[in-house]
Symmetry: C2
Subunit: 201 residues, 2 copies
DNA sequence: CAATATACGGAACAAGGTTCCGTTTACAAG
DNA sequence: CTTGTAAACGGAACCTTGTTCCGTATATTG
């Protein structure tokens, strides 16, 4: 009666475990240096395995990308509550968005993966935004309730917008931060509409 | 004395002219319905020519894309002076940016072409921004001089940012306008916010 | 040690961009 | 109209990259 059917129906073979780790590491390095479009063959070679092994563990290219970045995304998401506790709602929101921006601008390829139209990356945006959505919603609602941010912006839209803005950042993380700062200012300070006329800042 | 050496060193052969026009039209339709990633073979077939002919007139895929959209971009650029004459600087800037947004969100594939990393689209961003840069610089400088916009934002950065924001718009032009509106608000009203120290990894 | 499920490697296939080159054609000079 | 020729044509062929398939190798378990 040593059968444990609850979880892990079958152990992972040791060589498989080793190869998965080698692949993740090789992919991480490759994405960081050559971008997410690094050919699968090349990643496989760097990891010392055949392409068949890659597809055994990561049925689609996007699964490999997702696996490489998942850890960092989770860390980013879990940082939200602390920020909310330590700062004013508006400032917490801004700090978190800048942190997210930094993640996108720093980890080369993350933004590209989130915006690529390649069918191989199908579903990645949703997969990546899922863990972040609750975090941002928390901050956004708090800021809106405190009158420190618009209430008419959806978390998903905002995540997508930041990801898009970070796309051209390439090696210039500063560009991303400047543009996201503009967006945040627009988020915090609703301008009078065109009809209301323009006043100087 | 019929020699006219001023321009057109050599006339274009009639069949070439016809094929170029057919290609541009086929590409326009294909981009609008299937996106900029429509295979070259398919565009060639729709135009009734061979792929060799496509590459004869448009050495790179991006040249075809550029040719298809150039006309609309020029029209957008040339609309700036009129807007500057008819409206307050800040409003003229906003109206022009929204028009640019509409162009990007409406012509399917334009935003994608401007943000794609495919080597085939190499240089397209620069090629497309070149005619728009002077137009936006005009509006931006005027608005900044009138105190109706920040003075620390570069025209090129802004063009790029708007193009990026329009990327996920897909069929939903409204998303693009909402996000660009946020950006514009941030452009017009500098927030007295925290220093740029909020970027933890 | 043997049996077997699991995993491995890489050849093979599909798709799309680009090149090459033998053939066809517009057009201008005679 | 004929004809010479530069220009253009078409599409087979090539290359790169994602993905699948399957015969072979091996970790694990009793």
């Amino acid at each position: 009666m040593s059968e444990n059917i609850t979880e892990t129906p079958r152990r992972v073979r040791s060589d498989a475990r080793r190869n998965i780790d080698a692949l993740l590491e090789a992919a991480r390095v490759a994405f960081a240096t050559s971008g997410v479009h690094t050919p699968v063959r090349e990643i496989a070679e760097r990891a010392g395995v055949g392409v068949g092994t890659v597809y055994r563990h990561f049925p689609q290219r996007s699964d490999l990308v997702a696996a490489v970045f998942r850890h960092e995304l989770d860390a980013c998401a879990s940082a939200a509550p602390a920020l909310a506790a330590e700062h004013e709602p508006g400032e917490a929101l801004e700090r978190w968005l800048q942190r997210y921006t930094n993640l996108l601008a720093t980890k080369r390829g993350l933004a590209a993966a989130l915006n690529s139209e390649t069918p191989a990356f199908e579903g990645l945006p949703g997969c990546f935004q899922e863990p972040l959505m609750p975090a941002l919603a928390l901050l956004l609602d708090a800021a809106a309730a405190a009158g420190q941010a618009r209430a008419d912006v959806k978390p998903g839209d905002l995540l997508q917008a930041v990801a898009s803005l970070c796309l051209p950042a390439g090696d210039d993380a500063d560009y991303a931060h400047r543009m996201v700062t503009l967006l945040i200012d627009g988020l915090r300070y609703t301008a009078p509409t065109l009809a209301a006329g323009a006043r100087s800042a």
